[in-house]
Structure formats: C-alpha cells, structure tokens
Symmetry: C2
Subunit: 386 residues, 2 copies
C-alpha cells in the first residue's frame, strides 16, 4: 500500500472490504509494530456502543498499539450479541497483528440496532496477511466514511517526528468528549500523562468545539497513539502541531457536514470566561434559524441576537453591550444600512462564514465550528435507511 | 365584526391593516369593558423586546384588561427608539379604548432589528373607532400570523362561562416561559392568585412542552384575561378547560410548524421524576435526526436511542431498561422484525406520530409536542427577509 499522507515510523495496517453493505472499503486496522502510549476520549452517550465500552477499558492503562474500525454498521443497541461481536473483532485483529487483544482499540460507525453480518466479518479477518504492510492512512480514512463525501487526513512534523490524524464525520455530530471517529498516529516520544494532558486540552478546543446537528453519536471515539520511534519532542511544539492537525480535521468535518454548503465559524469574545463564551457560541452555531440564514447568505443579525438571547442563564449578557459581525462587517449595534448589509452579504456568499459576537463583559473567548442547514441534510436523513 | 369562535362576555376589539409589510391584517386589540384579572408569562430571552419588558411590568399587579398586537415586525433590538414605540402603542390603544395605559399589554412579532414604520402606526391608531365593537377573535388570531399558514383558536365552556384562546407560531419556537403569542379571554370569575397558579401550571404542561426548532423567540408572551362577567366557576373545571384549550392550540402550532408535514408527540414514562421525563422528551423531539426520520416515515428507532443516550447527565438511564415504540408498536428491545417495522412505518405515515419512550426507573412522565423537519423549513428560513 502507498499513502500520500505521511505515515509515522512503525505503523502498519490493512484496509479492505468486508461486505457490510456495499463493495467499498469498510474496514481498516492500524497497529504500531512496537508498544505505544495512548490517550483516548469517548462519547458520554448513555447508549454508548460495546466498541466504546471495550476500547475505554483497553485504553485505561495508557498503553495501546492501534485501532480497528468497521464502517456502515455501528454495532450499537445490539445487546449481548453486539458485545460478543466487539470482543471478537478485537481478538481476531490482535491475533492477526500478533499483539495482545487489549492493545487494540475497536470502533464502529453506521446504522444503529443491527448486528454485524458476523460470518462475513470472520471470513474477512481470518484471511488477513500474516504480517501487516506499512499503513495506508489515506485508504484507512476512506474506509471509515459513511455519509462523508471525502476522506479527512491532516499531518504535521514536530522536530524529527511525524504526526498524522484521520477522521470521519459527518452527521450526529455534537461531540462532548470526542467526535465521531478520529485517530492520531505519531512516532514522537512523550510520557503518557503528558500525552494525555495535551490530547484532552486539544480535543476540548477542536472536536468538542464542533457541531453539525446537535445530535451526539453513540460511537464517538478519538485517540492518539505515540510509539516513540522518532525520539523525544518538545511538548509545546507537539501540542501546537496536534492542535493544528486536529483543527484541520474539524474544519474538514464541518465543511463536509451532511448537506453542508458552507463552514460556519462562531467567534465569541468578551465573555465572563471561556466556558460562557463556548455556551453562547454553541447556541449560535446550533441555531437552525442562524444556519438557514447562512445558507441563504442573508446577514440576518437579528437571528444572532435571538440565539445569544436564548442563553437565559447568562444574566450578565446585556443587549446594549453586545456586538455582532459577519466577517469584519459589524451589523449591531452599528446601524445596519443597506451598504453595510450588502458587504455582510458578500462575506456570507463565500464558503466560510465567520460570525463574531462580542459580549462586552470580560475577556473570555471561544471559537466553534459548524455548517449551514440545507435541503441536502433533510434529503440525506429522511431517506437514510432503515 | 362577527366571530365564529365564541367570544366571552364583555370583550371588545378591533383588527385591521396598518401596512407594516403587506395588505393583510397586521394589528388587533382586544379589551375587556370592565376591569379584569390577568396572569401572564413571558420569554426569558436576554434579548427580550421592549413590548415584553413593558407588558411584564403592566401585568405585575395582576390586573389588565387586554392586549394589542402588531405583526410582521417584532420591534426587538431596536434600541431606545423601539422602547419609545412600544410605549406609544400602549398609550394610543389605551386612549382609544378609554382605559389606563398600564391596563393594556402589548406584543409584537416578525422580523428583528427594524423600527416600526411609526407614522403608519400613528395614523392607523388615531383613526380607531370611539367605541370598540364586540371582539372578533377569528380575525384577531389571523391578524397576528407571520409564517403561520392558518389562524389558531380554541374554546371551551366552564359552567356558564366561556374560555377562548388564540395563538400564533410557528418558527423560533422552544418556549421556556410561554410560546410565541397566546392569549386567553374568559368571563369566568377567579381570584387572581388562583388564576395565576392555574395558568402557570397549564403553561408548563402545554406551551412549555412545545418545540418546533429549538430556537427561543425574543417575543414569547402568553396571558389569560378573566373579567368575571359570567360569575364564579369551579376551579378544577376551569383548569381542565384551560388545559384542553391550551393543548389544542399547542397541537395546532406543532402541526403548522414551519414546513411541517406531521405532528410529533413524544411520551416519556417510567422516569425518575417528571422533570427528567421532560428533559428526555425534549431531547427526542428536538433531534434533527429523529425529526427527519419521522419526515421519511422511517421507524428508525436507533435514532431514538441516540437521542435518549445524549442525555448524558441522566446516569440512571440504563439501555437495558429502555423501551421504545412508534404508536402502539414496540421496536426496542423487542426484536424489530420486518413485520414489526412495517407496522411502525404504517403508523408513521399518518399526520400524527406518537413516539413512546419507557425509561424503567420510576413513574415520572411528560409528553411534549413538535413536528418533523422538512425541506419546507429550509426554504422558508433560507429565504425569509432581510
């Protein structure tokens, strides 16, 4: 296999078609040839699937070599059968890769409530090669797509180390510990507690700042695997690189949100603290009336005031102190003349719309990412299965 | 004027066209000819408009005779000018009706961020008749429509008294103290504290159980005016009648939700308490993936598990104890065979879809009302103004 996206040293893998639903790739596994440190975060859904529960246990000791993913079936709400299928996936991949089962995380994405076609899964896994070739991260990213229209990969270097992330979206996305599925592989060497601290901080500002449709998946999982083959790196540089790679993936997911035609970035500043800024930003980016206004390239700042206003608990938000802008064009409280609205509309006709909200309280700030709401979202989701 | 919908004794009114936007009626006032008791609830939005702030003060003493409404302009985020316009509306209507200004509530609905065309408003109000004729509640209900496709009225009798409610929706609807605009008129006689207690209890189970699109209006207002002309009534009977009338209006608003093709009723039972049942029910009725599945008449119960699952704080919800049904067809945990799914799909092809969720914890219960999400919602809101 050959990957356009750089592959850090020591990561091997396989990808292919099990036949879950169609002839496209629906499986991949990426495993480090040497032990690796892991940090992982998972959905907080009460209906978290057995893959999530199993991977959470496997990652708990800070050590894991990689991950195996099945797409086009979430293996969620499938009872004891689903539980046993998740274990079987973990065990068979680990056996093929020659590592202990608890060193392989598993994840699954797709329709909820149907067991795997387990005979097909077994037949496929039994035929895996004795030794995995070097990983192909482009093909791996493509293999986990569901309603995604394009694979999502991003990469950076840190000193002599390589960091590559792959992710999928693009519906049921309002992660609260992680996003749908995102995997980071690096040959950098970091202590596990440091890796963990850095990863959680980055996830909070990237994947947890993303919302496509306010629905939280039962399968959200994100992890970083660091096998250390490139030696130690500067931690601050690593965090910056991880943030950059994660943010690229987040922007790709938002741009490719189900039916989306535009990425929306909501920048809230002047808040009491960052947490308040995040709550207000989420209210704006999740408002269907704001999302449809963006779709229509309509600088309807009144809907932004509505969305800010519905943060009813935030009693220190005073309408007189609020400022609203589209791109660099302020539309409130400045008088929104026809000329001002025309410039705002021009900004909104682009592929990326930036909505600025100043709260005028203190200096808390947070930026979130989402997309517009279009007829395409309705079509995809009114027709998608069962 | 002649009203098909019964008008309680002593309520007089006017309705007509100011010319805010088009030649359709965009104004009405209904005022009791004798003093009346009032109970009123309003939006908790931080961007509540000046009409809301003024009416909240006017209703605070439990006494008010009626309400004046301007449609097609919300008079929200209009600064000091909007504040003065709201006062002017109140004063001019009160003068025409021959009552003190603080006895008239005012409300406004429509586009945010534009001042009234105040000269037109003044000219219209100055030409009002010296004595108002008996109120026409059908015409009044029609006069406050914005994206509503039909006027919403409901009526009941309590002993010898009449109770009539009129309401409008149908977007920016997730009320948290009231809905967009809903007015109840009755000639029943009740003590104000009793009226207030009954009204708040009914609103909590009706308007606060309604959600079209998770967006909370800046103008939500609901009030009941009781002028006592028909004498005392049994309070329990009155509460039952008020609940019945309010629920009819809520179902009308949900059915007429922007772009809606189906009413959705989510009945959560077996919760720890009613408040938990309401949180879970809201998560289900507001899920865009559930709403689009209903639009497609797809018994995709997996999306209902997802929506229940995203109530992450409700740690006593255990997937094994949850039951999900469409109409009277249980789809989880019972095996959802093709025959079961076909019967559930049949139910979903109707105009009203009932989703049942049993939590298996205790006996808390709550029912909420909403609608499906369709291409029509996108079209209405991607094109609506500015």
């Amino acid at each position: 296999m050959s990957s356009q996206t750089p592959v850090p040293a020591g990561f091997r893998g396989v990808a292919g078609n099990i036949g879950i639903k169609d002839p496209n790739d629906d499986f991949f596994a990426v495993v480090s040839e040497v032990p690796a440190r892991v940090s992982a975060v998972f959905t907080r859904s009460r209906f978290a699937g057995p893959s999530v529960l199993l991977s959470r246990r496997s990652a708990a000791d800070g050590s894991a070599r990689g991950v195996a993913v099945i797409a086009r079936n979430a293996n969620v709400a499938t009872g004891r059968v689903g539980d046993s299928h998740a274990h079987e996936l973990q065990e068979r991949v680990a056996r093929a890769a020659g590592v202990p089962p608890e060193e392989v995380l598993v994840a699954s994405t797709g329709v909820i409530g149907r067991p795997y076609p387990i005979e097909k899964v077994r037949a496929y896994l039994d035929a895996l090669p004795e030794e995995f070739p070097p990983a192909d991260l482009d093909r791996s990213a493509a293999a986990m797509m569901t309603t995604d229209t394009r694979p999502k990969t991003a990469s950076a270097t840190v000193g002599g180390a390589t960091l590559t992330g792959i992710a999928k979206g693009v519906g049921m996305i309002e992660p609260n510990m992680a996003t749908m599925l995102a995997w980071f592989f690096t040959d950098a060497e970091l202590e596990q507690p440091v890796l963990d601290e850095v990863f959680r901080r980055v996830v909070d500002r990237t994947f947890n700042a993303l919302s496509i449709d306010t629905d939280t998946s039962t399968s959200d999982s994100a992890a970083v695997f660091a096998n250390g083959l490139a030696g130690p790196v500067d931690v601050a540089e690593f965090e910056a690189a991880l943030h950059e790679v994660a943010l690229k993936l987040v922007r790709m997911i938002a741009s490719d949100g189900e039916g989306a035609s535009k990425l929306i970035e909501v920048r809230v500043t002047g808040a009491r603290d960052d947490a308040q800024a995040k709550r207000v930003a989420k209210a704006v980016v999740n408002s269907p009336l704001v999302k449809t206004a963006v779709h229509g390239a309509d600088p309807n700042w009144g809907r932004v005031t509505m969305a800010v206003g519905k943060c009813e608990e935030e009693t220190d938000i005073l309408p007189d102190n609020v400022r609203i802008s589209f791109g660099d064009v302020e539309t409130y409280p400045a008088e929104a003349t026809d000329e001002v609205l025309e410039r705002a509309a021009q900004h909104m006709k682009g592929d990326e719309v930036v909505i600025g909200v100043g709260l005028g309280i203190a200096d808390g700030a947070f930026t979130v990412y989402g997309c517009d709401l279009t007829e395409g979202y309705i079509r995809i989701n009114a027709d998608y299965t069962t």
